[in-house]
Each structure stands twice: as structure tokens, then as C-alpha cells.
């Protein structure tokens, strides 16, 4: 296997982390729907927390993406 194809495979492997991120974001919004359904009045407060959690989880996806970019282009 030459270096170029190894790089492409490595970049592909690096973004497997997105599976975990998908599960995490799904959990966050499932919990958001649950809590808003139980107590609609809490929507404003819970929504901010959910967005914060979403951004923190999404950052993990972007770390994987950055690693993939580094493998591919740097």
C-alpha cells in the first residue's frame, strides 16, 4: 500500500468518531424533547443548556474532522 492510499484510509478511519457524536447529539435532543414535553414552561432554560451540550458534542466531531484534514492535507 502506498502512502497516498494509506492517508485516505487513515482519514476515513479518523472520522469513525462521528458515530459516537451522532449518538451523543441524539441523546441530547431526545432529552430536550422529553423535558420540554414534561414541563413546557422550562423550555427557554432547557433549550440553552441543550444548545450548549450540542455545541460541546459537535466539537468532538470537529476534532475528528481536523485530524482527518491533517492526515489528508498537511
Amino acid at each position: 500500500m502506498d502512502l497516498a492510499s494509506a492517508k485516505q484510509l487513515g482519514a476515513g478511519l479518523a472520522v469513525i468518531a462521528l458515530a459516537g457524536v451522532g449518538v451523543g447529539i441524539g441523546h441530547i435532543f431526545a432529552a430536550l424533547v422529553n423535558s420540554v414535553a414534561r414541563n413546557p414552561a422550562s423550555r427557554d432554560r432547557v433549550f440553552g443548556l441543550a444548545i450548549l451540550g450540542f455545541a460541546l458534542t459537535e466539537a468532538v466531531a470537529l476534532y475528528a474532522l481536523v485530524i482527518a484534514f491533517i492526515i489528508l492535507f498537511v
Binding site: 444548545i51 450548549l52 455545541a55 460541546l56 459537535e58 466539537a59 470537529l62 476534532y63 474532522l65 481536523v66 484534514f69 492535507f73
Partner: protein, 250 residues
């Protein structure tokens, strides 16, 4: 880009000297110019917005007041009553990143937050200030922050290094989060923009997929605006949380 058959996604982040010979001598890149633009826009928003001082605010004044109140409440809620002292810092940080992110969405504009040097510098300012604030308020007692309470003494040699490491890794996580979000978004825009050009060049039959790619690009711009605001908010709120930790020690 289309001619060579590969997508050159990262060249959009390259820095070029601007303003001719003056810029070349002083090392002024488009990134620095955009920082000045962000600063001027921030000052304009606040100055022009608050100039009427109307009791019933107009559109611009509402925007200025809303950003102000939003950040102020965020400071007070996250840090506590002491948050008032840190509000100017958080407000400056939030507006600088917010305007920088938003300006970068416009075509032909440069996003200075898509460079790790910029976000790392901002993060270093935050982390060093948080550490100094902790040392200033609690003196040497600040180091008890790294000693978790209510754990067996036997575990401390293991836990204290972990706490120190997690404290230091804030530098990486905070800076890479903002940088990676902005960079990934702009790479995505570039990739779909390249799709439009590549597909459009293939012939009449490929107009429809090219249009689809263009539609995706339009949606992505909307998503980028969301991410720009969200990441500025996240950066500010995490700075607030770190300040809370430094002020209250857990």
C-alpha cells in the same frame, strides 16, 4: 480548482500581505484587516445603536441593547454576583468573536477565527486571566482547586495530575473548538462550491445536480450563520464557567 480535478479546500485560509508595500513591510495580512473591520463594526454597532438614547428603541438600538443584556445576564447567571466585574471582558470577547465569525460568512471576506493562532491567542488570554484571577482572590489556596474533595487520600497522587491536565487541556479544547468549527464550515462551503463549478462544466444535463449542490450551499450558509453565533456564545459561556471555577473554587 476544477481544471486539476481536485478540490483545493484549504488554500482559502492562506494569508496574503495586503495594502501593497506598506503591508508587506509591516506584515499586515487580510486577517489583520478583518480584525480591524470587526472592531470598527463592533464600535459602530454600539455607537450608532446607542446614539439616539430613545426610550422606545429603534432597530439598531434594540440590537445593541439585546446583545448587552444577553451577555450581562449570562455573566451574572454563570459567574454569580462577581460576574459584574468580568462583564466588560466577556462582552468584548463575545462581540469580537461574533462579528469576526459573521463577517467571515460573506463571500470574499476572510474569517480570522478560522486560524488556530488567533483562537489560541484568545484562549491564552482567557486561561491566563482565569488563573491570575484565581490566584488573586484565593492566593495560594487556589491550588486546592486541583485537589478533589471527599476522595480517599490514596487516590490523590492519581487524581491531582488528572485535574491539572484537565485544567491545562482547556487551552486546547477551547481554541480548537472555535477554530475547527469555523474551518470545517468554510471547507464545506468550498467543497460544495467546487461541486457546482465541476458539475456545471460537464454539460447541459448536469445543470440539475449543479443546482442541487448550489441549494445545499445556500442551506450551508444559513447553517454557518447559526454556527457563527453559537460558537461565539459557547466561547463566551465557557470563559464564564472557567471564571466561575476560579472565583468560587468548585
Amino acid at each position: 480548482m476544477a481544471a486539476s480535478g481536485s478540490i483545493d479546500a484549504l488554500s482559502q485560509f492562506q494569508l496574503h500581505p495586503v495594502l501593497g508595500d506598506v503591508g508587506r513591510t509591516l506584515h499586515i495580512a487580510q486577517s489583520n484587516v478583518m480584525m480591524l473591520v470587526a472592531m470598527v463594526l463592533t464600535l459602530l454597532l454600539l455607537w450608532a445603536g446607542m446614539r439616539p438614547r430613545a426610550l422606545v428603541p429603534g432597530r439598531l438600538q434594540s440590537a445593541a441593547e439585546m446583545i448587552y443584556e444577553f451577555t450581562y445576564n449570562m455573566c451574572l447567571e454563570t459567574i454569580g454576583p462577581e460576574g459584574r466585574r468580568f462583564f466588560p471582558f466577556i462582552f468584548t470577547l463575545f462581540l469580537f468573536i461574533l462579528i469576526g465569525n459573521l463577517v467571515g460568512v460573506f463571500p470574499y471576506f476572510f474569517t480570522f477565527t478560522s486560524h488556530i493562532t488567533v483562537t489560541l491567542a484568545l484562549t491564552m488570554v482567557v486561561v491566563i486571566m482565569v488563573t491570575l484571577v484565581g490566584l488573586w482572590i484565593h492566593k495560594l489556596h487556589f491550588f486546592s482547586y486541583f485537589v478533589p474533595q471527599g476522595v480517599p487520600k490514596l487516590l490523590l497522587p492519581l487524581l491531582v495530575p488528572i485535574e491539572v491536565l484537565s485544567y491545562l487541556s482547556r487551552i486546547i479544547s477551547l481554541s480548537v473548538r472555535l477554530f475547527a468549527n469555523m474551518m470545517a464550515g468554510h471547507v464545506m462551503l468550498e467543497v460544495f462550491g467546487a461541486f457546482v463549478i465541476m458539475l456545471g462544466g460537464l454539460g447541459l444535463l448536469w445543470i440539475v445536480p449543479a443546482g442541487l449542490a448550489l441549494a445545499v450551499n445556500v442551506a450551508l450558509i444559513g447553517f454557518e450563520i447559526l454556527v457563527a453565533v453559537l460558537q461565539a456564545y459557547v466561547f463566551a459561556v465557557l470563559s464564564c464557567i472557567y471564571l466561575h471555577d476560579a472565583v468560587h473554587l468548585h
